[in-house]
């Protein structure tokens, strides 16, 4: 010891100046020690231990920089004068803006270790306050949107959508009749604090059927004793309306906290560059609220949300028989153009979604937690059609009432280098197809029971390498109650195979109770490897299984909103997908690249294909049948970000999907075309946080499509003529420019106002999109100028 001291003094003397040791404790605002906080003094760094203490020796005397940071907290940066050994204790303040990130990471331990996750943060989400979840998700490359008109928007991940892309809202799987391509997610975008897109089925805790990917929406959680509010007002020129969304949140680390959010949206008819899209207005009235009680070892949450939307369907898109469809496609001009109005007539959708849940989380020790959750959802979808008799105008043509109960239990623990997660879920679902509509429903009443069990293990070899593997088992049983026309039952060839489902007879209809059981095993394995700091490589292979949905099994007639006869098939098997997904990330100082190729091989892929015509008294209708095939989807997503200077940056996003129908050697229908997005941004924090960006969106023509055109006879110039109905040819490619700019004014320490101006489709370009179901009838929306005012208080 003495020797060491002598050596020490010798060394000190040798270097010509004195060195000291600094110790201290880093804690949070409440004095609780923070473990693994980063402490940096002069050129020495260390981290705190479990008691929050740190020791840094060999610090030179004199003026030195002190830097302390911990994820989720404001970093401390100061200059200190050091002359002797010192104790420096610091309390870190919680950073509310960063906190969402970490609380969520703690809760869910990241959704998937080895597959590509892309995150939208609240700053991006707020830009879409006046729009939809789908439009916000389009910011992620590889996500495209499937639209019905301008207001019904569904996300498409790597070419797949609807039941293949489950949406998890607040840890509850959204059950909102998501099988329908014209059924947008029943979710108020303003309620999202953070949205994660996982391009694959690797997040097994949420289910094993995410063949396309999964969207995880989490609310903003503030764990600080404070009361904050936010109000966003949007005004849009196209639609001559806007929205107002206001939220208030009482945060708290321990004890009670609560939040409430209300959103109103009111927009009239949208316009293309040349005409009014008659009956394209929409309204939303949404509310959500929650309470939370937290203690060190447990917390309890309860929340309720209500989504209420009225959405007009463009009048020109309502067609009778195949002749009407032919006329629309060939005229390229809508059959109905009326002056601008705010009112919404039939055809329209009125959708309500209630979600209530309670959640209890308990930490058994530092590394182990248990989560219990019960959620109830009630979805009521009313679709109003143009009725033959005006007496029925106010009567919905479709009235589906879907109630879903789910119970989840999750167990998470960290043991050494292992992170383990397992749990089970139970679900009961009841769909009621109201027969009082006077229209035979395509979707029958049914009852469904689900049970699932999963286990996920992550092994960290070191900080840079981890291996993840998971397995899941799901059981599902569905019993439907459906009236089949006897003629349809026979035409489908069900007599021999399914006669045991028949339980009654009513005139020309069979009353049937089809029952199906499914047992699914799903699994995934993947790894993540970080090379130095600049490069990361992720690989994931997953097996996903999806059961046929009610529309695929039971559809048996005219789908009024599409003017086609859609036939389900009771013989459909479950879909099984093997997805290989890899991501390379390379990070130079000012330039980042992310490359994400994938291969998705889907067995028994279910799709709709035209098989001919049926003649009814209304004329001829094309018949589309749900079929199964062997499918192969391949593609890639590329992102780059280049920080050109302190002020300028550039972002590039590209996405390509190739869909092959292997059984028929054709392309798959409705695959998103190749897209290139370029964004150039200028930022200057000294001008009231000024930021402005110009975005170019280039969408190529989809040249890979199957030819499903069919021939029909129509009266042209008073002569019956055979014509080809071209439902297959995709529209031309297009190029759009969008502009966005914002400034933030600090009113005082707590209050700020952000103003933004955005212009979508600056050049007022006329275009149609391949993934819009109304592309046969109308153009897309023209220029839209939006103003947004955001108050934080």
């Amino acid at each position: 010891m003495r020797f060491l001291s002598i050596l020490f003094f010798f060394l000190v003397g040798f270097f010509g100046y004195a060195q000291v040791t600094i110790t201290g404790i880093i804690s949070d605002e409440n004095g609780l020690p923070l473990r693994d906080a980063h402490v940096h003094i002069a050129n020495k760094t260390t981290s705190t231990d479990a008691n929050g203490t740190y020791v840094l020796s060999g610090i030179p005397k004199g003026k030195q920089k002190l830097y302390i940071s911990f994820i989720g907290y404001y970093a401390i940066e100061e200059t200190i004068e050091i002359s002797t050994d010192l104790t420096i204790n610091r309390r870190l303040k919680l950073d509310i803006t960063k906190l969402d990130d970490i609380t969520i990471r703690q809760l869910s331990n990241s959704k998937s270790e080895s597959s590509n996750e892309q995150v939208l943060k609240s700053a991006t989400i707020e830009k879409f306050s006046n729009q939809t979840l789908g439009e916000a998700l389009k910011e992620v490359s590889g996500v495209s949107i499937l639209k019905t008109g301008s207001t019904i928007v569904k996300p498409v991940i790597n070419g797949l959508h609807s039941n293949r892309v489950p949406i998890i809202n607040n840890n509850v799987r959204l059950e909102d009749q998501q099988w329908g391509t014209e059924h947008a997610p029943n979710f108020d975008i303003n309620a999202a604090g953070k949205i994660t897109v996982i391009k694959g089925a690797s997040a097994l805790q949420y289910g094993g059927d995410a063949i396309g990917g999964i969207v995880v929406i989490e609310p903003e959680v503030i764990k600080k004793d404070t009361l904050v509010g936010k109000t966003i007002l949007n005004l849009a020129s196209n639609g001559m309306g806007g929205s107002l969304s206001s939220s208030i949140q009482k945060g708290n680390r321990y004890g009670w906290s609560w939040n409430a959010l209300g959103t109103f949206k009111y927009l009239g008819d949208r316009e293309t560059p040349d005409y009014v899209l008659s009956n394209s207005g929409n309204r939303e009235q949404n509310f959500s609220g929650g309470i939370r009680f937290a203690q060190e070892k447990y917390n309890f949450n309860a929340m309720y949300s209500f989504y209420n939307a009225q959405i007009g369907i463009i009048k020109a898109a309502h067609i009778g028989n195949v002749n009407d469809l032919y006329n629309s496609i060939n005229n390229q001009q809508p059959s109905v153009i009326e002056p601008f109005t705010y009112s919404i007539d039939a055809p329209k959708q009125e959708v309500q979604h209630h979600l209530a849940k309670v959640n209890y989380q308990r930490w058994l020790n530092e590394n182990t937690s248990i989560d219990l959750q019960y959620a109830f959802q009630f979805n009521n979808r009313l679709e109003f059609d143009v009725r033959r008799s005006s007496a029925n105008t106010n009567k919905a043509a479709l009235d589906l009432q879907l109630a879903t109960h789910t119970f989840l239990a999750d167990y998470k623990t960290n043991v050494g280098s292992w992170r383990l997660k397992s749990g089970f879920n139970l679900g009961y679902q009841n769909n009621f197809a109201n027969p009082k509509t006077g229209v035979r429903p395509l979707i029958p009443s049914y009852e469904k029971l689900d049970a699932g069990l999963y286990g996920i293990a992550v092994y960290k070899f070191d900080n840079a390498t981890s291996l993840e593997s998971g397995i899941r088992y799901d059981f599902s049983t569905i019993e439907a109650t459906k009236y089949y026309l006897k003629s349809r039952w026979t035409e489908r060839g069900y007599d021999a195979e399914f006669s045991h489902f028949i339980v009654g007879e009513e005139g020309n209809q069979w009353l049937t109770k089809p029952t199906f059981d499914y047992h699914n095993i799903t699994a995934n394995i993947g790894f993540r490897k970080q090379f130095h700091h600049e490069m990361e490589w992720l690989v994931n292979v997953s097996l996903a299984s999806r059961n046929p949905n009610p529309s695929e099994l039971f559809s048996d007639g005219l789908h009024h909103s599409t003017g086609q006869i859609e036939l389900g098939d009771l013989r459909l098997e479950k879909e099984q997908a093997y997805k290989f997904n890899t991501t390379f990330k390379k990070d130079w100082k000012s330039f980042q690249v992310q490359l994400n190729p994938f291969i998705n091989r889907i067995s028994n892929f279910i799709y709709l294909q035209p098989i001919g015509f049926e003649t009814t008294i209304r004329g001829a209708f094309p018949v589309w049948e749900f079929k199964q095939t062997e499918a192969l989807l391949t593609g890639f997503d590329i992102n780059t970000k280049w920080n050109i200077s302190n002020h300028f940056s550039h972002e590039l996003g590209m996405a390509y999907v190739n869909g092959q129908n292997l059984s028929t050697d054709e392309y798959l229908i409705d695959m998103p075309p190749f897209v290139i997005n370029n964004k150039i941004q200028y930022k200057n924090e000294s001008w009231f946080n000024f930021a402005t960006e110009l975005k170019s969106e280039v969408v190529f023509r989809q040249n890979q499509f199957p030819n499903y055109n069919f021939e029909t006879n129509i009266i042209v110039n008073d002569a019956l003529t055979p014509v080809m109905v071209d439902i297959s040819s995709p529209p031309k490619g297009y190029h759009l420019l969008h502009f966005y700019s914002e400034m933030t004014f600090k009113i005082n320490k707590k209050n700020s106002l952000t103003t933004s101006l955005s212009v979508q489709n600056i050049m007022n370009t006329t275009y149609r999109d391949y993934l819009n179901r109304q592309r046969f009838f109308v153009d897309e929306m023209g220029r839209n100028i939006q103003i947004q005012l955001k108050f934080n208080y």
Partner: protein, 186 residues
């Protein structure tokens, strides 16, 4: 606190489990037209043309019956009726068309030299445009066969060129019924 949680867990499901029992009642189909009947009276004969589709949107094609052949050069007084025979009781849709005559028009199309159809001058809606339930049919040359197409359009543009003379080309709207009758003129 524990009790409160338990109560909340138990109460919430009860509140929301509003029972919607799956009534096994079939839909009384109100939207479907099952039967279109066109009657031609002239030259001492009554010819009935019927198209009946009792499975609605089901796979079976309509059953078409024509009671006789037309006589060349004869003028027939024609009328068309619409029924929904799936509704209980059977619904006469013709009266509904008359009540909402502004929103409906029936069009007739004859192929080849079957003759000529003109709307009856008195069969007008409140704005003076034809409804098309009544018409006059002058049979064409002897020995021709072809098709009479009867189309009921909902929400047509009645003021578009030619529409009031019975031409469907510019009529727009959507098709509620479209039936084909084989016709022979002797």
């Amino acid at each position: 606190m524990k009790n409160l949680k338990l109560i909340a867990l138990l109460v919430i499901p009860v509140i929301f489990s509003t029972s919607c029992s799956n009534e096994d009642t079939p839909v009384n189909e109100e939207e479907v037209i099952t039967t279109v009947t066109t009657t031609l009276v002239g030259g001492g004969q009554t010819i009935t043309l019927t198209s009946r589709d009792l499975d609605g949107d089901g796979p079976n094609a309509p059953v078409v019956t024509v009671s006789g052949n037309l006589v060349a050069g004869t003028t027939y007084t024609g009328s068309t009726t619409f029924l929904n025979e799936l509704a209980d009781p059977i619904e006469d849709i013709t009266t509904e068309i008359v009540e909402e005559s502004l929103d409906h028009q029936i069009f007739y199309f004859l192929s080849g030299a079957l003759g000529n159809i003109t709307y009856s001058a008195t069969d007008l809606d409140s704005e003076g445009n034809p409804i098309g339930l009544h018409f006059n049919f002058v049979a064409g040359t002897s020995g021709t066969t072809g098709t009479l197409t009867v189309t009921l359009r909902h929400l047509p543009n009645k003021t578009a060129p030619g529409v009031s003379e019975g031409s469907i080309t510019n009529a727009d709207g959507n098709t509620d019924a479209e039936v084909y009758f084989p016709i022979t003129v002797n």
